[in-house]
Symmetry: C2
């Protein structure tokens, strides 16, 4: 089982409007509602790839109830996009979320159907109490006993201490479970010092962490701060991996247009599933780049265009750097 | 008891953002959630004025549950705005909503805290079935037996026939209960033909109905179509009443700046409470104008600034037209 942790889960609403005009009134022409927060997106992609997955983190209030109902609902539509019968069935996602007193936040993506541009509104998360955090730690340690790998994903809700991810990284390492950390800012800085197996910063997160916008320099610097491996996601330029086994650059075969929301989460799912399946670094990177590119082609986070994924996978370019990591 | 009918109830969310920038991501800095739809706003103002009120209409799904919990919750904050102890306690609002299978819609008002401007996003309402409409009719007829007056408010959800308000007007008239209709478009056109006691169109609704933007001409035309009385709300110009007893123009003492959302609903509450209390037309109009002006000064629909209301009430200008209605 692969475990994902989402401390700041969300109910993600997408509202389509014919055109977004500030200070005007809009009738929403189409809408969708789905469980969100980075770790839940990662879990959905892992599930579509056939991996049994468990999700933990916090959920509460009426919004938390809706989120959990949707999580327990029918399989995601990523699978329905394929034209042939060759796709694996979606594996179950186990709901191991910890119930909190506060109300889970909503995020609203307002999509201008004229231009495709998205305006994002994110509610603040609920205040998590010390007792709720203790309950999460207990649940997490229990889940680690059955986990092949764990991903720690996204921002921290109010009330959670900034070293929370460092604590979760240490517990995973103590339990001998490979741990990937995907967050930003101070929680990332502290988390790296606890020596996670892998981090997956994007260019902005990397620059914020290291002060450098030169990819190779920044990625190496991030690794020196404690992460065993660093895979930097560089948007349309693909990914740069600096690992104990070598340095690779992976590039998508072509630029694609679409919605980049969730592309990073799909990359995490690609890296984590590749790790659990024992794939080589080049193959993990191929999968991560193909999945994240196929996610850009899909309208919603946590979904990917499976036909595009299968078509892209053998065409991802991999270049090994011969200099030392 | 005063009854209000809201066929298209909503959970009204207000999101404050430091500045609304299209196509950017925003952290919501403050938020509130309250039962909405015109009839619920009217009921809240009636309750704050000390009138016992019942609300019916449709509510369903998880959003409907939240709406009903909030409706049953502590009294509204309109009362907390007063500095003295002279305000009447809020009277109870009886929840007589009919449960439907569909999910009650949300509306989101995104308030730019830099400018105060509001961008509105309205979900479509749930599809109401024929059986659910029949259940509403039964509940409505039952409630009419105890009602001193009824207000029919707002838009129709999908599935409800365009003559629905006409049907509800006829049932109220058969029961001998004074009925105020506050809607727009074709439902208003059909509803007027069923001869409601009062309609309260704004300038746009009046122009859409009659083709005229000349207030007196349009208001008289609206009355000829079947309404016994017409009170046109003309925004900062106040209200124009064309009734069997005479024609009056009521004007606020000064222009005010603020959020006009809910001002029309407060005017309905003013007219309806004045009718039930047996006030003269000039006194009803004074109350309606003072209440709607005091609502512009309050940040949320269904609330009014009570101190401003009490200060404005004696200062509303009333002019009687001596020509025939």
């Amino acid at each position: 089982m692969i475990l994902t942790v989402t401390l700041n889960t969300a109910l993600d609403l997408t509202y389509g409007v014919p055109e977004l005009v500030p200070h005007a009134s809009h009738r929403v022409s189409d809408m969708s509602e789905r469980p969100g927060g980075k770790g839940l997106n990662v879990a959905r992609v892992l599930s579509a790839l056939g991996h049994e997955t468990a999700v933990t983190g916090f959920a509460g209030g009426s919004t938390g109830t809706v989120l959990r109902e949707l999580l327990a609902g029918p399989p995601q539509d990523a699978d329905t996009k394929t034209g042939n019968g060759a796709t694996p069935a979606a594996a179950p996602i186990t709901d191991a979320l910890v119930t909190v007193a506060g109300n889970t936040r909503r995020t609203i993506a307002v999509v201008d159907r004229a231009t495709g541009d998205t305006t994002q509104l994110n509610e603040p998360g609920p205040l998590v109490t010390a007792d709720e955090w203790t309950a999460l730690l207990g649940r997490y340690e229990e889940l680690l006993t059955a986990a092949d790998a764990v991903a720690l994903c996204g921002s921290l809700p109010p009330g959670i201490h900034v070293g929370a991810y460092a604590e979760l990284v240490r517990l995973a390492r103590t339990a001998g479970v490979p741990v990937l950390l995907d967050t930003s800012g101070e929680p990332l800085r502290r988390g790296i010092a606890a020596r996670p197996d892998l981090i997956k910063p994007n260019a902005d997160e990397l620059a914020q962490l290291t002060g450098s916008r030169e990819p190779l320099r920044a990625t190496r610097d991030a690794r020196r701060r404690g992460a065993h491996g660093v895979v930097a996601s560089l948007g349309p330029d693909g990914m740069l991996a600096v690992t104990p086994d070598g340095v690779w650059q992976a590039s998508p075969p072509a630029k694609v247009l679409g919605n980049p929301t969730g592309a990073g989460d799909s990359a995490v799912a690609g890296l984590l599933s590749g790790l659990v399946e024992g794939l080589s670094w080049p193959d993990r990177l191929r999968r991560a780049v193909a999945l994240s590119t196929a996610t850009v082609l899909s309208p919603t986070a946590g979904d990917f265009d499976r036909a595009a994924y299968e078509e892209l996978l053998p065409r991802v370019g991999i270049e090994e750097h011969t200099t030392a990591a």
